[in-house]
Every structure is written in structure tokens, then in C-alpha cells.
Amino acid sequence: MPLAPPSSAVHVQNATPGFLSSPGRSPSFVTVHPVALFSILDHYLRRTDAQERVIGTLLGTRSDTGEIDVRSSFPVLHSETDEQVAVDMEYHRNMYELHHKVNPKEVIVGWYSTGSNLNTYSALIQNFYTQETAPHQAIHIAVNTGVEAGQPAGVKAYVSSPVGVSPKPENAVFVPIPCELRFKETERSGLDLLLNASSQSSSSAHPSTDLDVLESAIQSVYDMLERVLTYVRSVLAGEVKGDAAVGRYLMDTLGQSTDDLEKGGFNASLQDTLMVSYLANLVRSQAEVSARLALTASVPK
């Protein structure tokens, strides 16, 4: 699930710089959890008028394969002027400690900023975060919120390498690395809820019942079948030239054996489900009766 339009850029793996003794592999791939992303957007929304961009710390986990999983983020105060940049390091440490209490598995992996502007200050901040994540390399995630015209919203991830004959903190090359949105399948429905909320005009939604969700899912399957059917019909009628690959996909999908269903598996399963449903109803009414009985069984006086 890429986060930005695909680019033809080659993701160069930077070789381990000679003076940096980095254990494990350098970051080669970044996955971002929606929570981290949403926090960044929220932080951007709450910035003061004077702030051009906001920065913050990324927390997550590292794997041996060089993959970094960004799980959450928190804002950090900073100020940028023409002459200098200042990051509230004490605030950053405090917040990290607080987060660490709740979620000890998540460690500092890098930092984020909004906007896609990489400058000297970015290099300086990157330098600071590299110290925080040492001995590992820090990653930088640039979130373009899509507020400025002409710049599409997207997320880019970078690692830095020192540049120049005598490396200085304000000089760095930001090397892009691939970045993806990742979440567990079980969290998917929460995201669906938000998608629903944003697609509705009033930008608000009520959580619906199981059956509503099921209905919309079935409806969308129905629509897809309809689309496939139209395509197949038009191929049969000779209007469109058939695609062999699509044909094989359809064959694989629709040619699944349904013997098991016909051989009474359906009925057995149906009976089980009905039984469970009956039991659930029975328990509920018993519980209700029991609660009422507790009220009527008054102490004789």
C-alpha cells in the first residue's frame, strides 16, 4: 500500500559510512501506522500562526531486515528563524518517557516534519535525532498535507548520509527510501469507519450495526459481479477483445468447488447456527427474568 504516487526513482541503498559503526542493517523500508499519520495531521492543524511547519518524534520498532515500523508519533516544540533553529529537547525527552511508560516496546526511530521542504535546518534536526537513536540511523518522514496548491498530499521517508570531505552536522544528503501505510487487518474496520465519515457530506457518521456493514459489503460484491458480467457479455458479443489474464482470474475465482455445500454441509452448519442463536436468546431472556425477580423478591416484613 504505497503512500505516494509511484515514482521511477531508484531507491539507492547507501553503503555503511566508514565512520558510523551501525549494528544491524540501515533502514531500507518504512511502514507507517495510521495513528502516527493522523497525529501528525492533527498537530499540523493545531500549529500556531507563526509556524511554517511542525516537527515531532516518531516512535516504532525496528526489525533485523532493515524495516522500520512507525507506530506512533508525538509533537515536539521547535522554532525556526532565519538565524537559528531550536528544538525543545527537554519536552521531547519528557514525552518519550511518558510514552515509554505505556508502550515500552516503541522506541525513537526518527522524526517527522510537514511540508516537503528539506533544508539546512532539516539536516541539523536530523543530526540531533541521529544522536537520540544511536547506534541506529534515524529516519525522517516528510508529510505533505496537501494544503498548498500544486503539491499532492503524500508521505516520503528518508535516511541521511553525511556529505563533504569533513562531515558537518548542517550538511547531509537525504536519501529516499520506500514508505508504506500499514495496519493490521483487524484495525481495518476502524479505518472504514473514518472513510465512511469523511465521505458523508456532514463529515460525521454513526457507528452502524453488523448487519448494515454486511449489507453494504454484499452490495459492493453484487456491483462487482455486475461489472464483470457486463465485461464478459461485451466480450462474448465481440465488442471488446477478451483479455486472457482476466479470463483465467475469473475461472479461478468462479470455478471453486462447492461440493461441500451441496453435500449437506450447509444444513449441518445451518442447524448449528440456529442452535447458537436460540441459546443466545434463551440466555438473554433468563438473565432479564432473573434481574426482574431480584427486584420482586422483597424481604418479607
Binding site: V35, R47, D210, E262
Partner: protein, 377 residues
Amino acid sequence: MAAPSMAAAIAASLPTPQSAPTPSAPSYEAIPASMSKVIDIDVEIPLTHVQLDGLVVSKIIKHSRESGGSSAHGLLLGLDFDGVLEISNSFPLPHHFTDDDDKSMKGVARYQASMLRSLKEVQADDSVVGFYQAMTLGSFYSQSLVETQAIHQDKLRHGGVVIVHDISQTARGNATFHAFRLTKAFLDAYKKNNFSTDSLIDHRLTFSSIVEEIPLRIRNNPLLSSFLETLQSTSPAVGNTIPPQATATSSIPHSFSVLNLGTANVTRNLEQIVEAMDSYKTEEGNLAYLQRQIAREKARADAYVAKRKEENATRVTQGLAPLPEEDVSRLFKIPPEPSRLESMLLLGRIDAYSKSLEETSGSGLVKMYAAKAGATV
């Protein structure tokens, strides 16, 4: 016991209710006339809705999933505005109360205070409006939840709300959030700390009247909406072929996990119902035992009084002075009426479990018939 310590810790660190901070202007400025109707300083407008921000939704889901089980809880931050409680942020509370109560209590209070201070520094909302609690299979009634909410309802503006989130339902493909608060009747009984049978009858309390639900809405801020829109929209992949839909990629592809027949949860659900029933039975047994003990003591006291009266009657007929009527309550220790709170909560739990079982089997039926229709075509 961990639960009361947590509740007390939260209570200790809660700010005292203050005048409403105005959402549009800093609170020291005069409230503009157009706003005076919707900003209530004296907490007069009753809550009609709870509005949950997208950020909070995803934070709660993440926290609940990671801590696995129903132990995840945290605080909700936000403001109320014209009867709508807007929850704009949340943070998780640490969960390990193994060491001694006092220390962990203070730890939580300190954690919370410094978290609130830190959030204030980056212009995030920092007023506590309630807490959230993760649950599995629809059951959230527990002593600690009730206790914490009772404290909140005393201390917070509008009494605060508790938002419960069902992890297992989210895993099934339907994320749900419900906002609750305690009913007046329950709170009254709770304050008197009296859950005897009489008190229950007086307050007409059953498990279904412990909490009342407040309608809940999900809202995304426009920035988040547009960002999600971008993520969802399909971007054409490099090397286009026909049909384009097959190769297009999207950050958030369609998901059909809702359609899984998956009945794995049913077994677990049934087990939990049985478990809850067992504990209910034990609890009922305890209550009945106490009840019998009370009855026995009462009978003995009554017998004593009757005997004394009879004796006095005979003494009077014999012309002797009657013996003084002693205070029976000092001679016989009649135990206090047992609290029925736990058994009520257990009943609520049983009801919730079977409700979720009912829902699973209901949607399971639909899916089975859908699959069959697909198979026979």
C-alpha cells in the same frame, strides 16, 4: 485491589471543574453575543451527542489491539459545545498495578498531570472529559468501570462519559464505539453505597438501567478527510494494461473481511457465557448464604424478644416488676444486607455476551444463505 486505586488516582489528579473555555476565543476575552447561546459557562445545556474525532478512533483501536484483552483504558480530552461533547484527543494510561497501591497510584497521577501539561504546550485540548475502555465480546460491566465513572460524574463538567470499544467486533469488520454514563438512579444508590434488595427496588435498578447511552458521531477534520480521500483514490500504476482497475493501486484497498464466514469467535463467546454464568451462580450462592444467616439471626432475636415478653407477662400476673426490655441489636449481631451490585454486573455481562452471540449468529445466517445462493447459481 487494583481497581479502587486507579479510580482514586484519577480522582486525585482531576482538575476541578472550571468555567468553560471558549473554543473560538481565549477564555479571558468577552464571549461574543453570537456565541453566548452555545457556550454554557454554568453547565446548563444537557449533552445530546458525543462527537469522536478520527484521531481518537484510531488511537483507541490501536491501544486496544496492542494491549489485547479488556485491560486497555485511557483518558479522553476535549470540550463541550452546544450540547455536543467534542472529543478531540486521548491518551492511554499505563496498566500495571502490581506493586504497592500507593506508589502506583501516585505514579498514575503524576503521569497524567505531566501528560496534560505536555499536551497543553503544543496547543492540544487538555481538559479531561471522560475515559475509554476496551472490551471483548460486548461486555464492559465491571466494578472498576463503574467506580471510575462515578468519580468522574462527580468531578467533571457534565459528568464525563465513558466510551467503550469492542475489540472482537472490530476484528469481525465492524468497528463500534458506544458512549455511556451512569443513570441517576444508579448513581444515587452508589453514593449511598447501598445495593440491598430494598434499595434496588426503590431505584428500580436492573443491569439494563446501570448506564444510559448517549448517541455518538464520528467526525473527521477536513484535513484528515482530504488526506484519507487521497489515500483511498487509486493511482494508476506504471505500465498500464487493460482493464485499468486490475492494476491500479491504492493505499487503502477494498476489504471484504466482513464476508468471512469465520465462526471462530463463537466457541470463545460460548465459553465466556458459561464462565459468567458460573460466577453468577457462585455469587448467588454467597448472597443466599448471607440471606439465610440474616434470617437465622433475626429469628433468634425475635424468639428472644417473644420469650422476654412472655416472661414479663407472667411476672406481671404474679405481681412482680417486669424485667427491662433490652436492646436486642446489642445481643444479636444481625449482619448487614449483602450488596447485590456484583451479581447485577454479572447478569449484565451475561446479557452482553449473549447479545453479541446473537448478533454473530444473525449475521452468520445471512452470510451462509448468501454463500449458498452463490453456490447454486
